[in-house]
């Protein structure tokens, strides 16, 4: 049974040479930035019990989780997320906050067949556990913005939303639960026509304040002016507090010079009640997908142990690699340009290695693994390499200058 032997699994890919180097470079730069801001790295296993991800208000579509059975009949998963396992670790091992954690690893999601999405994604991310309030959120976003810039990404937008802003409004609406869900879906979809129709049909149910705010909600996105507009429309205390939180985070980052990277969307509505406060989503102009996602999730830790505030975000490294690949000539950037090849017999191989390290004529030499000098010369002709060394014996070697037809000149060099 070897039908699939030569294929990669749908939604995965092999990464070769320069692309691989680029991706690793991005990860290294991100990790350096994380360390600068005092985040400590942790690594959790790729395999986790299904129970870890199976709670109410979980942020991941159950059907997308790769599941399998272990020898005891327990359900295991390939982790679809790294924040939730870190919550597990904090509750059971770290226990005491506040703590700043970073991570980098693969997650797995079984996406719909043939929709162009990856089933294996590399994510770097940050968690701040044990600190409520805006300072943690500013630190998270600041570190993420810096990490993106340090990796070479500059044309991105970080969008800020606030769960409590819209949830406090919805809580008070005199509508049945199902109607609330419908209204949320309409606003989430930015379906302005549909919203007007919905509101008009129920005009008498809403106060003027509620009506005015709901009507405007799908369009409350953009720059800082959105906060100002919203301050005029907001009418309940919890929403006002949520707006203040958003304003604080925005203005703090703006004062640090990052205003251009920010935008706001007060109708950033999620289907699950996973985020409990600020929500972040980051986009790049040329990609259709998110590169960052996160927020505050104060209810998460309580699923594992004591309730502790937490906030964090994850950065999609694969998307960033894809983005940067478009802008650089990878072959040029990473070419370890080989300028000469050294050949020796098996007996004299130690001399070949010593010689490579000495870089004769101050150029970059590669060691030949071919069986004969003739085969080595063939390789040089084919790859446009114009110098070759033949290690003759323990007295010395020949350096040959080549063109694409043959040896032009041959010089003898003695070992000292």
């Amino acid at each position: 049974m070897n039908k699939w032997r030569n294929y990669v699994v749908d939604g995965t890919e092999d990464l070769l040479f320069e692309e691989c180097t680029l991706k690793n470079e991005i990860i290294t730069k991100m990790k350096n930035t994380f360390e600068t801001y005092d985040f400590l790295e942790i690594q959790t296993p790729t395999l986790e019990y299904y129970d870890v991800f199976n709670f109410l208000n979980k942020p991941i579509d159950e059907e997308k989780i790769y599941k399998f059975i272990d020898y005891k009949g327990r359900i295991l998963t390939l982790r679809p997320d790294q924040t939730i396992p870190i919550a597990r670790v904090f509750s059971n091992k770290i226990k005491q906050g506040p703590v700043l954690l970073s991570y980098c690893g693969q997650i797995f999601r079984s996406n719909q067949h043939l929709n162009g999405k990856s089933n294996e994604i590399t994510q770097c991310g940050l968690e701040v556990i044990g600190a409520a309030g805006g300072k943690a959120e500013v630190l998270l976003l600041l570190t993420a913005i810096k990490a993106l810039k340090d990796s070479g990404v500059d044309n991105f937008k970080l969008e800020l939303g606030q769960y409590m802003f819209y949830e406090s409004i919805f809580e008070e609406l005199p509508l049945a639960q199902e109607e609330k869900e419908d209204l949320k879906a309409i606003i989430k979809s930015k379906n302005i026509g549909g919203l007007n129709k919905f509101l008009k049909q129920r005009e008498t149910l809403f106060s003027l304040n509620q009506y005015k705010l709901l009507e405007k909600l799908p369009q409350l996105f953009g720059g800082k002016e959105v906060i100002e507009e919203c301050e005029k429309l907001v009418y309940n205390e919890k929403s006002r507090e949520a707006l203040q939180n958003l304003k604080y985070v925005y203005e703090s980052l703006e004062s640090l010079g990052y205003g251009d990277y920010l935008s706001i969307d007060l109708a950033l509505i999620q289907t699950m009640d996973y985020y409990t406060g600020i929500i972040f989503k980051g986009y790049v102009n040329s990609l259709g997908e998110e590169i960052i996602s996160g927020g505050r999730y104060d209810s998460l830790l309580g699923e594992f142990g004591d309730s502790v505030p937490a906030a964090g975000l994850a950065i999609n490294i694969d998307q960033i690699t894809k983005l940067l690949k478009q802008n650089i000539d990878l072959k040029l950037k990473y070419s370890n340009k080989v300028e000469g090849i050294i050949f020796s017999s098996e007996k004299l191989f130690d001399l070949a290695i010593k010689l490579k390290n000495e870089s004769p004529e101050k150029i970059n030499w590669k060691i030949s693994l071919e069986g004969t000098f003739e085969a080595t010369l063939e390789y040089c002709y084919k790859n446009g390499i114009n110098k070759a060394i033949k290690i003759e014996d323990r007295n010395g070697y020949y350096i040959c200058d080549l063109n694409d037809k043959g040896i032009i000149e041959r010089r003898w060099v003695c070992y000292e």
Binding site: Q112, N115, G116, K157, E159, S189, K190, N191, I192, G193, G194, Q219, F221, G222, S263, D265, Y283, V284, N285, L287, G288, E289
Partner: protein, 208 residues
């Protein structure tokens, strides 16, 4: 300022939308005289239009290679939803229905029906919401044939005038929901090109 790129569903929807665009004064001459072109630019408004089959409109919008798509709600209901659905254009009106030959509703209550449809997801969601367990067979076109050939007990399909059904001896048993053409927008495009998108949406709103 970059042009907004719009993917338009080929066929009848294309014609209806061209009418609306003309109504609001947007030049569509390149669309009306296609030649061999695949991308059509408006001469007086910063948009580019490409034509595609309905499910492909959604694919292009989701991947962000076009900013806006115009596609029927039936296709949206059948495919995944990772975009903003900002407007109902009010054209291409029809509805989803369960239809069949006589005798469809004369089956015993425990009988497990077989339903043929071009929209298996819509069919599945509808019957699931009714609490009914059905077998679904996907058929690509001329779905009315399925009950006539005895492949299925009934069909779920879009109905406009009902003429096709009547001519084939089928009748409507259940009306599922109304369908019309919608304007969808890629999420990143909405955020990054807010004013261009909203301007176009407002313009379209004024033309219907």
């Amino acid at each position: 300022m970059n042009n907004l790129r719009i993917a338009l569903t080929k066929g009848r929807l294309e014609k209806d939308v061209v009418k609306i665009l003309k109504n609001v004064g947007i030049d569509v001459s390149e669309l009306e005289n296609k030649g061999r072109k695949l991308i059509f630019r408006s001469q007086n408004y910063p948009i580019e239009i490409v034509l595609a089959k309905a499910p492909d409109v959604i694919t292009y919008v989701e991947h962000g290679v076009v900013d806006i798509g115009i596609v029927g709600k039936d296709t949206i209901m059948e495919n995944a939803q990772d975009f903003y659905e900002v407007m109902d254009l009010g054209v291409g009106k029809c509805f989803f229905a369960v239809a069949s030959l006589d005798g469809y509703d004369n089956k015993p209550s425990h009988y497990r029906k077989t339903i043929a449809s071009k929209y298996p997801k819509v069919t599945h969601d509808y019957f699931r919401q009714k609490g009914e367990d059905v077998d679904i067979i996907k058929i690509e076109g001329s779905v009315e044939l399925a009950p006539i050939l005895g492949l299925a007990d009934g069909i779920v399909d879009i109905v406009e005038t009902g003429n096709t059904l009547r001519e084939n001896g089928l009748k409507i048993y259940e009306r599922i929901c109304d369908i019309s053409a919608r304007v969808i927008v890629n999420k990143a495009s909405m955020k990054l090109k807010k004013s261009e998108v909203m301007n176009l949406v407002e313009k379209l709103q004024s033309g219907i």
